[in-house]
Symmetry: C2
Amino acid sequence: MILGIDIGGTTVKFGIVTNKGEILATERHDTLENAQTSEDFMGLLIDISKKYIASYPQVKGIGIGIPGQLSLDRTTLVQANNLGALNGTKIVPILKETFPDLIVRMENDANCTALGEMYFGGHEKDNFIMIALGTGVGGGVIVHRKLFIGAKGNAGEVGFLVVGPQRQVLENYLGQRHLTNYVKEELKKPVNGFSLLHSEDELTVEKVFHAAKAGDRFALNVWDYVGELIGETVVGLAHAYDITQFVIGGGVGKAFELFEASAKKTALSYFSPYYADTFELLPAGCEADTGLIGAASLVLNELETF
Amino acid sequence: MILGIDIGGTTVKFGIVTNKGEILATERHDTLENAQTSEDFMGLLIDISKKYIASYPQVKGIGIGIPGQLSLDRTTLVQANNLGALNGTKIVPILKETFPDLIVRMENDANCTALGEMYFGGHEKDNFIMIALGTGVGGGVIVHRKLFIGAKGNAGEVGFLVVGPQRQVLENYLGQRHLTNYVKEELKKPVNGFSLLHSEDELTVEKVFHAAKAGDRFALNVWDYVGELIGETVVGLAHAYDITQFVIGGGVGKAFELFEASAKKTALSYFSPYYADTFELLPAGCEADTGLIGAASLVLNELETF
């Protein structure tokens, strides 16, 4: 049993997570309200943790997921855009002081998601690359059941390979805002006038998903385009890490069925047999509370059995 | 003192390498002649190694560089295009049987070059990415003074990220044959008629280098193009490994001064301050016998002091 803490830009989620990835109890707190100062914020983390640990004395450890860059030793938040007051806070040592008998681990939130997927995604993989297509494009790289954090601790930024017709990083195409802007611009072209979608609409990725599901040719082409960009990225990542298993998650990732064929076709057009023979592209298996489950997985990864 | 063995498609080089990277004695043998069977080839390795070790009893180990893919435990050649008869040969265990008191290590040749650069390149770096621009584009990734070999042992294929205007892997632009073909095609365009170079010439990378040094505008543009492609690759690799130090080697790499500015400008146009602040692009420091020195470095990497 693990206490997971999922720190986001707007909400801090706490939850008791079992070894099967079930959430027994959970609560949310507003981030901004509590993160005015580092002391306030650590006070919140300690108070809520104490409460849960009193109720669940079987808890073996605390796992924390946090956006931004961590120190190489994973004890300190170095820099996060939305959590300015916490930058430089030695979050792990402070918690460890209060909870000396517990395992306390912290990791970047996208890395947590990858670990959560390893334990609870339903695909038995010791090596894989997670690509999380959300507001931005994040991810994590699992090598021999461990996160690969690289030279300074912030490796696996899988959304920042330069790909595609604009020679831009993947996030600049597929981050949600970028993708909807692309769709809007494309819809302005007379040739796309046949689409059910309109550039004046309040466009969302969901709308493009549903239009494609309804057979809209333009929307289907958008997902082909998404797949091509994912395919090109996958090629670079496979060669960088010698990993050919990919798991796609995040909000945009929910359209997996619509970009799968194009992504696979694109990647296979580049791969030599060494890569092609073992290449797999899968949708993420975890659906709800991936942040919380991922944070708890940090402690699992320490214990491997618990 | 180390016995280095640099196995190439045409030549096998043996050499005694000191802890300062000096080569005391060396000899070459024809690869094809000796690699008709795995037994013949291992016989050659053992005979020549015995001879050197008899002459240099201070030898602490044998380091072997070999092109192609190795088993994850680095004992066996899995697959090399030019060394068919050796595929599957347990090279390290066979040598270890004859030389039980010596350290015996084998590694992919491009990885060896990266290690050689770490020890003898003259730049004190614990983390860097080597990009070797030769017949193909190879390289190696050094994380905390160790080679990163990834999930299955063949990571760090830095020439296989999809980049550039043709959405191709770097090697398809900058492998020597590809680069000269590109130059030939460009020279056929009337707009490039002012160049000193001609598409009918027997074009080499050296000629494009010398033309650029002589101020030929077309040739200078070719090197800018090379730099852009390197710059885009560097961005992906920096985010993949969280490493911002790059060392460029290989034959095409000798034109470093001509593509440096364009490569740096391109990379910096993508990098956030986290990457830009520590970004370095350097020419390789090792010049001659990099394969042999790299192979010997494998044993150094084991000993760290010797």
